[in-house]
Symmetry: C2
Subunit: 317 residues, 2 copies
């Protein structure tokens, strides 16, 4: 509908406060290195009229080079975690989540930061991935569209985690526009120059977009391809909870590629193939992510769809 | 010299007791999975006339999916570790090393197991690697030659860790013929089907070789290419111990390839390239191994050489 597509998305003021989170998972080193670097040398991320604040979210986990100390920081930014009172021994990450919420939030309030760029790595072959939490967030969709164009020919996939059961309460969710940046494959506890360069460019382009937006540029209506989370797929396990099969070689490293009914999915230690028995083609991602063994997720099934955004232009010039 | 080359290597009796160690590092999952599988289904590794014993060496680290609990099990099989008395609180892995030594050793004695195959993974792109501890161990060199031929066209590199300063007291060193098997790249805490298949084939061929040896086959003189450890290369660090540079993109994933004087080695966060300034070409390996950050090893320099072995034939038929 032309009229709707041409209307300017409402409610987006200028972007004044941006945070860059590294070390939300302490063994995902690219964000840790970039944030630590920018804490000392801010020139690369400085933008006039914007506060851009690099921040290590889970310093204790970074210190130990582990994902987390007591519990996953990237799952506790809900009412339960943020509201937990000091009656029992509170896990470190819950205390830390409340601190982060008080600095960059409160979540859902007008005082919350405008944008949080939260930096992650995965052991999956997902390449450069942008994570969207809200399919109605035209501003962020426009930002992702800008980043995709700027990164070409390097492809940036977009994962939409808007799902009533599968969505989780991320650290970045306290911002008005939460942005997850996930680049892989990179083993936990390793820093690769190629992965670092990709993530660094994504952040620079995100800041460039916000700067151009603040300066009054109008971004016309656009569409992007997104992979929307459908459900998680568990590993086959025996009665003792031990894995009885592993990701099949044909599925390994095939993030974002079609998995069709009948395609190999797992293989047992005896060589028996377990095929995908769903009715529809799906697009797996987070295939064989190290951190998801304990969450019992072999991969995440997504569906491919197109998301449109209205034009955006800063309303408070 | 023909006469020498044709002589039969002495001192090798039939191989009666073989151990397969998995989980020496609890987050290197291929060995953990294979050993756990064979503990329940021994058919694949059973060989007549040989005891072949699969064994989880560090069960507490496996349980937690970490490299070790208190200290690196693969560095403590020396007189100090094996002789430590119960006067102070002894680290878990020291106690465990003493148990392992009592079961499969004692190290250096006639009662020690004949062969220990110790299964490891690396985050480095080393492919299928066999680790040799003694350049005079003709039996093991012949075994590696047999495995290399059997694995073709998949290449198996051989790393020789015989070096007065760089050699370490491995778990497998209690055997008469210690064999390290190191397959990568695989992130810690991840199990990949392709890596598992390679390691599994190496073990099967190793057992086949031992069986043929026990049955009287003569293995004629042979030569293999080996990469001998020269020295470790540390990361550049600042006064606080923080890394100031990371592996350069040109060196990443280039294990076993020539590093020539002047070639890029590290890159700083500001983009400054630090070249290799040695005088001679070296062959890096364990490039960007996750577990070696804490040991401050960015990679290991090796030199390429040829090692010859006399023919071997079982003397106790």
């Amino acid at each position: 509908m032309l009229g709707s597509a041409m209307s300017v998305s409402s409610g987006v003021s200028s972007i004044r406060r941006v945070a860059i989170f590294g070390g939300t998972h302490g063994n995902e080193l690219t964000g840790v290195f970039l944030v630590k670097h920018w804490l000392k040398h801010a020139g690369e991320i400085a933008r006039s009229g914007m506060e851009v604040r690099p921040f290590i979210t889970n310093p204790n986990a970074v210190e130990k080079c582990v994902r987390y100390v007591d519990t996953d920081l990237n799952r506790v930014f809900d009412n339960q975690g943020l509201g937990l009172q000091n009656k029992v021994k509170i896990p470190y990450e819950i205390t830390r989540a409340q601190e982060i919420n008080s600095i960059f939030g409160p979540k859902g309030s007008k005082d919350a930061y405008d944008v949080i760029l939260d930096l992650h790595n995965t052991t999956s072959k997902m390449g450069a991935t942008l994570i969207l939490e809200d399919s109605n967030d035209d501003f962020t969709i426009q930002m992702f569209h800008y980043i995709q164009k700027s990164m070409a020919p390097v492809h940036c996939s977009v994962l939409l985690i808007e799902h009533p059961k599968v969505k989780y309460a991320t650290t970045r969710s306290i911002a008005k526009h939460p942005v997850g940046i996930e680049v892989g494959p990179q083993p936990q506890g390793v820093i690769r120059a190629d992965i670092l360069e990709k993530m660094r460019r994504i952040i620079i382009y995100a800041l460039d977009f916000m700067q151009q937006f603040n300066e009054g540029s109008e971004f016309p209506p656009c569409s992007i391809e997104v992979f929307k989370v459908l459900e998680k797929t568990a590993y086959p396990r025996n009665e003792n909870g031990e894995l009885t099969a592993i990701i099949h070689e044909n599925l390994q490293d095939q993030d974002w590629r079609a998995l069709n009914p009948g395609d190999p999915m797992f293989i047992t230690m005896d060589g028996k193939v377990i095929p995908y028995e769903g009715e529809h083609t799906v697009y797996p991602t987070f295939v064989n992510e190290a951190a998801y063994y304990e969450k019992n997720e072999a991969f995440v099934k997504t569906q491919k769809m197109t998301l449109s955004a209205q034009s955006v232009q800063c309303k408070s010039l």
